[in-house]
Symmetry: C2
């Protein structure tokens, strides 16, 4: 067996070179995924969007303690990442909704896994 730059355990855990970073790097898949759910309230906003399109005031209703500023920031963040989009209906009165893009739907398995892992952590005592 010849020398290999990539060891077996390395391949299993980080299949591509992008995962073997020596420092935080936006090109690392793990960083990219975390970027999408980063910040307080972000996963809550995503959860709402996973339930379906939502108007601004619907967020304010289901997440009462979320301020205008942070909500605006989160929607801008998700929009900038191409995970959600702002849709303005052409009727009257004009209605604005935010909805997940196909890209945003890619977060569903991650959210499920976060939920599953978190449940495991919460149910198994730390010590």
């Amino acid at each position: 067996m010849t020398h290999q730059t990539v060891r077996d355990w390395d391949r299993a855990l980080v299949p591509t070179g992008a995962g073997r970073t020596a420092a935080p790097d936006p090109a690392c898949p793990v960083e990219a995924a975390l970027e999408a759910v980063r910040g307080r309230w972000t996963t809550l906003v995503i959860r709402e969007l996973l339930h379906g399109p939502r108007g601004y005031r619907e967020f304010r209703r289901t997440l009462p303690a979320l301020s205008d500023k942070v909500l605006t920031e989160r929607l801008a963040q998700l929009t900038a990442l191409g995970l959600a989009e702002r849709v303005e209906t052409s009727g009257f009165p004009t209605r604005v909704v935010y909805r997940l893009t196909a890209r945003g739907e890619a977060l569903r398995p991650l959210m499920t896994e976060l939920y599953r892992t978190g449940t495991e952590l919460l149910t198994t005592p730390a010590r």
Copy 2:
């Protein structure tokens, strides 16, 4: 069909009451999972630990840009959450290693999923 407090989509996405929070809450599984991977360099330290036990200087070698301060913080954080443990061998010279606990091993599927989702996000164009 009678009225239900919990709708079907709700059950699928957030199986238990803990997932239907109206604000950020440590008791929410998603928050609990994110707490474990929170902070710059954290997933990199976890990745190293998923490869096996590591000494302090091994971290400094494989993650050269990681400062003493943050490394210490991350190891303390993971230890406090019961995800890693500090093991001091009784031989001479004394050797110190950090290794994942059984609880910490629970993060492996999450790391894999973060990697998978991130790869999907990086390979599908935002627009």
